[in-house]
Amino acid sequence: MTERGTILITGAGRRVGLHVAHSLLRDGFGVIAHYRSESDGVAALRAAGATAIQADLTRSEELRRLLATVTGKDEPLRGIIHNASLFETTREDVDEALAQYERFVAVHMRAPWLINTILAPLLAGENDDPADIIHITDIFADNPNPAFDLYCSTKAGLQNLTLSFAKRLAPRVKVNAIQPGPVLFKDTHTAAARERVLEETLLGREGGAEAIYRAVKALLDNPYITGASLPVDGGRRLAQRV
């Protein structure tokens, strides 16, 4: 265990999760990095000192195995960051959409609920120095895009769980949500789509993964913020016309 404590982060194999995991290591935290698929990013995290654990969070037995591995270490945790996420438009075929819904519920709601519930006793918080749980949700949790209705509604579920866990685990643990906007486009975003999205922000640019890490760090460093939502969206939620 490191001086600053160990943080479990899900979905750490790529993109924002990978950046946050590396940044935590750099800043002196120990990191348990959950990932779904092996990648160069996961290998680099291991090389940098992270404990990497593979699991497909849609599979109960793999989620249970992840939890058993973490509890088996019998070490206190400084925090948990729920970053794992599935981002897809809703399928047109109803049966496919239902299967998709089960995966979204599993990753965005069921896994965070179970992980928080099982690991809460390991969180090393005290009244004056509480531990942290951070849910990475989405600005769409408050204002959905109907083409992504399944995704948005399960992110709204995670947003709501933030408040339940903030109540349940106080005063020993702070629980907050970070709501990303257009932080890191996917390769599948066309140039036109990117431009359209950025026009909907007030700051006119992509945020970058570091913007999320800074928000994570601010929450870890502030002992008096709990039950809060922090949108990191360049002001997009305010720029949308009503």
Partner: protein, 251 residues
């Protein structure tokens, strides 16, 4: 991958009501980050001078004082210009100055309305308007000190609560008006510093009981949130960050 937020060394912040209490704590933290300060005060001349002397003892030529009654709206453009003139730049405006007292319905006068709306809403607007072109020169930002009672009314304080609600919306509105060159955010403290007027201990305890984290916050917690919004929140605008120990959860 770094975003566009930069270190604060050599940048300038104007902090209203910066001589005492939370304002002074914010000023100290920004100063410790290397910022030069223009500290506004109204009546607290001794506290302001003592804070300036202390901070200048650590770093000479880093703090300037400016006295003003913020209700004197006509003076605010000159206040903005003079804050800019000290070091030739202005990067951050912290609208912290505030008046706070009960206004029971039936006894509300136009004078208390003018005072509470004046300090908590009108002055932040006109000071933001006056500083906006100066802040825009260096991609600066504004941080407004709001209150969780902007969204949940404080019993006995309807005028104050409405003024802070106005400042809450003004924060979002100005984010829209001043982006992308100037970011505008707020901090909404809960129970941080018990007002100096003595209130009864039972009320204080009841308030702590309604706070999820079961304790009072410190001015440091608020100052740290302000520093985050100034230094590390280059992709956040129009947001009001509650620093309330989870008090909003209890309603």
């Amino acid at each position: 991958m770094q975003d566009t937020t930069a270190l604060l060394d050599g940048k300038t912040a104007l902090v209203t009501g910066g001589a005492r209490r939370i304002g002074a704590r914010i000023a100290r933290l920004l100063h410790a980050e290397g910022m030069n300060l223009v500290l506004h005060y109204h009546r607290s001349v001794h506290e302001a001078e003592a804070l300036r002397d202390e901070l200048e003892g650590m770093r000479p030529n880093s703090v300037a004082l400016v006295q003003a009654d913020l209700l004197d709206t006509a003076r605010l453009p000159a206040l903005a210009e003079s804050a800019h003139a000290v070091w030739g730049r202005l990067d951050v405006l912290v609208n912290n100055a505030s008046t706070f007292y009960p206004t029971p319905v039936g006894e509300i006068t136009e004078a208390v309305w003018d005072d509470l709306l004046g300090t908590n809403l009108k002055a932040p607007l006109f000071l933001s308007q006056a500083t906006a072109p100066l802040l825009a020169e260096h991609h600066g930002c504004i941080v407004n000190l709001i209150d969780i009672h902007a969204v949940r009314p404080l019993k006995g304080y309807p005028v104050y609560s409405a003024a802070k609600a106005g400042l809450y919306m003004l924060t979002q509105s100005l984010a829209r008006e001043l982006g992308p060159r100037v970011r505008v955010n707020g901090v909404a403290p809960g129970a941080i510093l018990w007002p100096e007027q003595s209130e009864n201990a039972a009320m204080h305890e009841a308030l702590i009981e309604r706070t999820a984290l079961k304790r009072e916050g410190s001015p440091d917690d608020v100052a740290r949130a302000v520093l985050f919004l100034v230094r590390d929140a280059g992709y956040i605008t129009g947001h009001i960050l509650p620093v309330d120990g989870g008090r909003m959860l209890s309603h």
